[in-house]
């Protein structure tokens, strides 16, 4: 064997990476040891810049400093991080010298030794001493990795989560804890993380999975925080198995779907019920009407009176159906408010035009009191109108003598402490009034007061209940003041802007 062959043999089988390069970093020789450590072949590297091939981007500056030092002083030794062809990181001990080629130009020869396992061992020892007890006392699985992504310590919770024996996780690359489909992104994640370490969470909002030793997966939430120790930055990952939470979330989602379906079924039922009840009512109210219009022929007084009873009962039933549907809609949160500027005075004038004839037909005085200035509220016109129509309608219904008065008071005139500064719409009557004991239950569904009182007209028992619910939807309320046989006063209090 010639001297040259022996030299080749030695270079080829040296366990460390032997690399010859020019001062600008161009690689001239790349021994087999370098290929074994870094994964690049000589053909891939020779003629290209060393730092572009194996130095992580964030360490380029540091690398240039070391090279300058070797060129100036003739030699240097340091520890650094390199990146393999497959993207994984490793620790190396570098020892480099400056040489001169035949023409007297400088070259650099470097021997780089993979010390990753040694570093993990050293770090692990340090971490075990400092943090073992602390880590084992937390509920989450905790894994600490060094800058090359190797696990230096894992607490027992993490070992249990991922199915490893005690101590078995040490030295593994953290990427192994993720299913392969996440690894590519994770390597990028991790490299970026060392550039800008700060506390944050992975997997919140996206479905991240952990990979057990046996290959099974489980949903995880991971939060990362940097940890400085001995001049190095480690990454602490707190890992939580969220299978249970996922199960709850799914169960909840299924329940919500069920509820939505049940709600739809209820809506269909209500619409169907309304349709089916109205269909026979159409004939009842319709033919009672034709008879009372005397289209088929004259009626005697008794017949007419009895038909009027059928007619009013039919209308009562219709009102009941309408009110029940309204209540069902409010209960289901299906009432959509259309907020717009509402001119309260104009609204009350409209109601006056609708109901004053009815009051006068009963021999009552109907009076409307409006303030001099225009009062505009941001509210739902339809709901407001429905409430006031109900209050005025009731007042007319329950008053036999005297008057019904509709009054609009601007917010400033409201009693202090009501908390509502918009407006008060008050309906006063001189009717039969409500006993104090009845006032409390006035707004409950089907809670009729004055029951059994001779001559007391019948309502659906839902009008005030509905009005109060609508008033609440508008951010206001209805209050009542009344005295038996002296009349009642109902006020709709509305919020201001």
């Amino acid at each position: 064997m010639s001297e040259d062959q022996l030299l080749q043999l030695m270079l080829g089988h040296a366990p460390d990476a032997l690399i010859l390069s020019r001062p600008d970093g161009e690689v001239l020789r790349w021994a087999q040891g370098a290929e074994a450590i870094y994964g690049h072949t000589a053909a891939e590297v020779c003629g290209r810049r060393f730092d572009a091939m194996v130095v992580p981007p964030d360490l380029h500056e540091e690398h240039a400093g070391h090279m300058a030092e070797v060129l100036t002083t003739g030699a240097g030794a340091w520890e650094s991080v390199r990146q393999r062809r497959n993207g994984s990181l490793l620790y190396v001990d570098v020892s480099a010298r400056r040489l001169l080629d035949g023409a007297g130009k400088p070259l650099i020869v470097a021997a780089e030794k993979d010390v990753t396992a040694l570093r993990v061992q050293r770090d692990a020892q340090l971490m075990e001493e400092r943090y073992r007890e602390l880590l084992d006392s937390t509920p989450d699985g905790i894994v600490m990795a060094n800058p090359t992504g190797h696990i230096v310590i894992a607490n027992s919770q993490a070992e249990q989560l991922f199915g490893y024996a005690p101590g078995e996780m040490r030295g593994r690359v953290v990427d192994e804890l993720l299913p392969p489909r996440y690894r590519q992104a994770h390597v990028g994640h991790r490299s970026n993380y060392f550039l800008q370490p700060r506390k944050r969470s992975m997997g919140s909002g996206l479905d991240l999975a952990g990979l057990r030793k046996d290959g099974s997966e489980f949903p995880v939430e991971i939060s990362l925080s940097p940890l400085r120790a001995e001049g190095h930055t480690y990454v602490m990952s707190a890992i939580r198995n969220i299978s249970e939470r996922k199960r709850f979330e799914q169960a909840l989602q299924e329940k919500n779907q069920e509820l939505a379906l049940a709600n739809q079924a209820k809506d269909r039922f209500l619409a169907g019920m309304s349709h089916e009840l109205r269909t026979p009512l159409n004939a009842i109210i319709g033919f009672t009407g034709t008879l009372l219009m005397k289209l088929p022929g004259p009626l005697n007084d008794e017949q007419e009176q009895q038909l009027r009873t059928v007619q009013s009962s039919g209308r009562h039933l219709l009102a009941l159906i309408n009110d029940l549907l309204d209540v069902a809609k409010i209960e289901a949160g299906k009432v959509e408010l259309h907020l717009e500027p509402v001119d309260c005075g104009a609204l009350l004038r409209e109601i006056n035009a609708t109901l004053a004839p009815q009051a006068r037909a009963k021999g009552l005085d109907f009076m409307l009191h409006l303030p001099a200035e225009t009062l505009v509220l941001e509210s739902d016109r339809r709901a407001m109108k429905q409430i006031v129509l109900n209050l005025v309608g009731n007042a007319i219904k329950f008053t036999e003598h005297g008057s019904v008065q509709l009054t609009l008071l601007p917010g400033a005139a409201l009693s202090a402490g009501s908390g509502l500064a918009g407006a008060e719409i008050r309906v006063d009557d001189s009717g039969i009034g409500i006993a104090p004991s009845d006032q409390a239950k006035l707004f409950a569904a089907f809670a009729r007061v004055n029951q059994g009182r001779p001559g007391a007209p019948e309502g659906t028992g839902l009008g005030l209940h509905l009005s109060q619910r609508l008033a609440e939807l508008l951010g206001g309320r209805i209050v009542v003041q009344s005295e038996s046989d002296r009349g009642s006063s109902f006020s709709l209090l509305l919020p201001g802007a």
């Binding site: 009512l281 159409n282 004939a283």
Partner: protein, 130 residues
């Protein structure tokens, strides 16, 4: 001058009510118990107006309207929906579908004829009109 009107309605009691009111006013009323029958009568008799229920067997009110509008002979006949569907968005749905009018059940017998006649040319609104 009285008009010839077509009523499409599957409920006998409600059909009788509408027929009675319109006939009493002097109009001629043709009757159909479902949309398909209604279409056939509409095409053969070309009524001045059609009163149509919505929920019916065979062909419902919406399908009937579409078929009437698709036929050049019947496309221009006013069609008024008279329906027990009276949820707040039902009127909107009916008008959007292309009906000329919407009346909800129960109808008001005192007003019904006038409401229907408002969709007729003035000359055809009842015996005294014109």
């Amino acid at each position: 001058m009285p008009a010839t009107l077509l009523v499409i309605e599957d409920n006998p009691a409600n059909m009788e009510l509408v027929r009675y009111l319109l006939t009493h006013r002097g109009h001629t009323v043709l009757m159909a118990v479902n949309g398909q029958q209604g279409l056939a009568i509409a095409r053969s008799s070309l009524p001045a107006l059609i009163v149509c229920d919505l929920q019916m067997p065979v062909l419902d009110g919406y399908q009937t309207l579409a078929a009437l509008r698709a036929d050049p002979d019947t496309a221009a006949i006013p069609v008024v929906a008279v329906t027990a569907f009276s949820m707040p968005n039902d009127r909107e749905r009916v008008i959007t579908a292309g009906f000329d009018g919407y009346l909800s059940k129960p109808i008001e017998p005192e007003l019904f004829v006038g409401q229907i006649e408002s969709y007729l040319p003035a000359a055809l609104r009842g015996p005294a009109a014109g």
